[in-house]
Symmetry: C2
């Protein structure tokens, strides 16, 4: 079955038109993956739907609060699809923006807030296993990390060693930690 789905993916790819310069394949399943499976960072994701934030607790002595925030976004149509089916549809994109955080004494207590951007994790749902042999793709997703220094080139070399281990506990939910995403609910 997996092979059949992959074959269907190839047919779609063969009929696709490549935009000059853009790298994206018109008619393919994602504007953020080219015909070889190279992944690019969406430029406008801050205009998408916010799903939720993860606060990374400081591990410094005598400090409190968060040392980082990871803010997750997806496209509006993906939220609508998830609310109907409880699953991320083929082509769904998740962008997790990574911030350092500062903590100040404010009027309501010790409060942490985002400061500099450190980078972005991006995942693209691929229900058909399109990119066999590309080490950014597998287990139903494309996986890539971009550091803030270079938003145009991923530093991910192999998702199995670079990405999957941290997501292992969420395998039963298609590798996504759903508990932190109130934005997926109505």
């Amino acid at each position: 079955m997996k092979m059949l789905l992959a074959a269907a993916g190839v047919v779609v790819m063969a009929g696709a038109v490549v935009f000059a310069g853009g790298g994206a394949v018109a008619g393919s399943f994602s504007p953020y993956a080219d015909e070889k499976g190279n992944i690019s960072l969406p430029k406008d994701f801050r205009n998408w739907r916010f799903l939720g934030t993860w606060g990374v607790a400081t591990d410094e002595d005598n400090q409190v609060g968060s040392k980082g925030f990871h803010n997750v976004y997806t496209r509006p149509e993906t939220v609508e699809a998830f609310r109907k089916t409880g699953k991320f549809p083929d082509g769904a994109v998740l962008v997790k923006e990574l911030f350092k955080a500062k903590t100040d004494s404010m009027t309501t207590g010790e409060i942490s807030y985002a400061s500099e951007t450190e980078g972005w994790f991006i995942m693209i749902k691929d229900a058909e296993g399109r990119f066999k042999g590309n080490k950014l793709w597998g287990d139903g997703w494309g996986w890539a990390l971009f550091n803030a220094e270079n938003p145009t080139k991923t530093v991910t070399e192999d998702y199995k060693s670079d990405c999957l281990p941290c997501h292992e506990p969420a395998k039963k939910d298609d590798w996504i930690y759903l508990r932190g995403y109130p934005g997926l609910k109505n």
Copy 2:
């Protein structure tokens, strides 16, 4: 000058059409304020632009991370206006959704995430001082808190005592803590 602006506001109000049942005044400056200045909570704010989150550090002994997250949203056109002018335009709406937070040991450390909703703060920019005598309005904004138990009735009685003290340090930035809002930037 303030009196002239208020008078202009009254003229707009006088020409407005009241929607039956809705409470909002068509042609007035906000769908979330009726003709008397009663403030209502936008139902669809999670579809708006996310501006940033505030993590409230836990104050429990032997615990780390955040005990709450306050997530702030505004409408897309308000972001565009702010990027051009550096100010919130008349009618701008800010919704701060208040969550309790949980903290788990996860693969990347001690991580906090939003759990139950506690309530919502809403602010509506009123550059014309429209609602003289209404204690939800003044200092350039309408101010209201809704608790999760009743999203249709604000618990705010007087913004000067209920809201303003916590915003005092941000007075120079029109009462808004801009430092936590990367979503206002490009």
